[in-house]
């Protein structure tokens, strides 16, 4: 078997070279960029699988004088982001191909994914800033690439809030580097000033929280997830969000052990975020905006798992929960936003009234969306049930039972809006005149079905096996 370091370097070249070359090929037909991106992402998926397998066999490896630390847990997150990117790129071919900016769009997708791969393995503050710049700037441009009013509104808020979050990141890294005396992200040495440590952690959590959509830093999220074209949202939610999770896991979590203020402060963010997201989602009449608020709620669930990281007994379970829940999240959000993009393309619309009776006209798409919604809700035996209840919430059941209870109550509230979508699709009367029938061979329908199939398959047993392999 090859050396993990070589595999990682090849993966970087495979992702960045086509990303840099694609814009130069502009004007060579509508199909070229999607084909190049798909081929690249398929190769990247194979390499990510190889990397994960090699690291599981060989254990963690440090490369580039310790600036990047490859380990099995992170390589799984990278694999997941690649899978999400491949699904989105596969579904986007008929849609994005007709945009004048399609070459740049695919190039940005590949470059952002390269940044995510560095982010998940990063172990040094300087490399972190470089990878962060790549992911963040690419995602602002991607959000605004359609150049219409709603996209510009989203991209503009995303960009300005992103600049604020970058300032917080630099501030937090300044405190962390000042305390440890090194740019290595390896946790805090014994005997540091706890106030300064808490300040640094708060700044870093705020910085990554901006990207993740943690309350009260979520202001941009409904505009981007709710206003930008759904196919781009699928990418931003399924792939770019991984960078924020990776940032929390690689930069902030190593500082957690032994810090008394960690659990209460993260629990506070978690409860506020999931409650806000779920309650705000209840009153939305538009499925895309509803999913935007549901993303905020899911950021809250992820924080529950991260809150467990300061407790040595619960740490492993909490972090396994984060990786598993990202699986749930990536599959569900990619599938749902791709399905919404299909509905927009077919002229159906994304309002609750628009999807009335959808299940009869579009049985495959309706079934896929239903499965993904049930998974987000946490219904057994789908993967969402395992990741949310048996990992995330169980991890804090001993250390902070009230937090686990808040999570369960919030999941109950969330049923209110997910079930509403399912009700409109199946039980709220027939479809309106002229709703088109689905074309089962359409890439978007196939991708939504594939995401739903993976959600079911992983839930039927492999989820726990997978979690056993993910030792953070």
């Amino acid at each position: 078997m090859a050396d993990p370091a070589t595999t990682f370097e090849v993966l970087m070249v495979v992702l960045t070279a086509p990303g840099l070359i694609l814009p130069l090929l502009e004007g060579r037909g509508r199909r070229t960029p999607a084909a190049v991106a798909l081929a690249t992402l398929a190769a990247a998926l194979a390499l990510s699988c190889a990397l994960a397998a090699e690291l599981t066999a060989a254990g963690p490896v440090e490369i580039f004088s310790g600036a990047i630390r490859l380990d099995p847990y992170s390589s799984y997150l990278g694999l997941l982001a690649t899978l999400g990117a491949l699904l989105v790129a596969g579904a986007s071919a008929p849609e994005v191909g007709s945009w004048p900016t399609s070459y740049s769009a695919y190039a940005l997708m590949l470059l952002a994914l390269a940044g995510v791969h560095v982010m998940v393995h990063v172990a040094d503050a300087v490399t972190l800033v470089a990878a962060w710049a790549l992911v963040a700037v690419a995602s602002y441009v991607l959000a605004g690439i359609r150049k219409d009013g709603a996209s510009l509104q989203g991209a503009m808020k995303y960009g300005i809030m992103g600049a604020v979050s970058s300032s917080l990141l630099i501030y937090g890294l300044g405190v962390a580097v000042g305390l440890t005396g090194t740019a290595r992200l390896a946790g805090l040495p014994a005997g540091v000033d706890p106030t300064m440590a808490a300040l640094g952690i708060l700044l870093l959590v705020a910085a990554f929280g901006f990207k993740l959509g943690v309350f009260p830093f979520h202001g941009w999220l409904p505009d981007v997830y709710g206003g930008v074209h759904p196919i781009l949202v699928a990418y931003i939610a399924g792939v770019v969000k991984m960078a924020a999770v990776a940032g929390l896991l690689r930069v902030v979590v190593p500082m957690a052990p032994g810090l008394a203020s960690w659990l209460p402060s993260l629990a506070l963010f978690a409860v506020a975020t999931m409650t806000f997201g779920n309650v705000a989602a209840l009153v939305q009449g538009n499925v895309q905006r509803m999913m935007a608020y549901s993303s905020i709620a899911h950021a809250g669930y992820l924080l529950v798992g991260l809150a467990a990281a300061s407790d040595p007994a619960a740490r492993a379970l909490g972090l396994q929960g984060v990786a598993l829940h990202m699986t749930t999240y990536v599959l569900a959000k990619v599938g749902i936003f791709v399905a919404l993009a299909y509905l927009v393309r077919e002229g159906v619309g994304v309002g609750l009234e628009d999807i009335r009776g959808l299940g009869r006209r579009m049985p495959t798409l309706g079934a896929a969306v239903t499965v993904l919604m049930l998974s987000l809700m946490g219904m057994p035996p789908l993967i969402g049930f395992w990741s949310k209840f048996t990992y995330l919430f169980l991890s804090v059941a001993d250390a902070a039972p009230w937090l686990a209870l808040a999570g369960v109550l919030n999941s109950g509230v969330s049923v209110g809006y997910y079930a509403q979508v399912i009700r409109y699709m199946y039980f709220a009367g027939g479809p309106r005149e002229g709703m088109p029938r689905e074309r089962v061979g359409d890439p978007a329908v196939l991708v939504a079905a594939a995401a739903a199939a993976l959600t079911v398959l992983l839930g039927l047993g492999p989820a726990q096996l997978l979690a056993g392999l993910l030792n953070p």
Partner: protein, 106 residues
Amino acid sequence: MIAIAGNPYAYLVVSSIMFCVGLYGVLTRRNVIRMLLATELMFNAALLALLALTSASRVGAAEGGVLALLAVSLGAAEIGVVVSLAVLMFRLRGSLDVYGLREGGE
């Protein structure tokens, strides 16, 4: 920089004041360019804190400098993107009001 070693607190006070002024600006302005000016103030406050803290720790001084240089390029890239969005928005709507974009019509 050696003069401040061991006592970065004066710099931290200045930097936190700059940061808060910037944050106030981002939250209260509606005009893109004004918001950008405010984020730039926040960004420079963060750089000041970074350099003050890392040079005080001596060991991390070189790394702090490298980090600051890279951070400047990150800030420049972000400002570049947001300014180009602002140009696009001004052409489309004739205004620079971030919150008024969607009311302007689809």
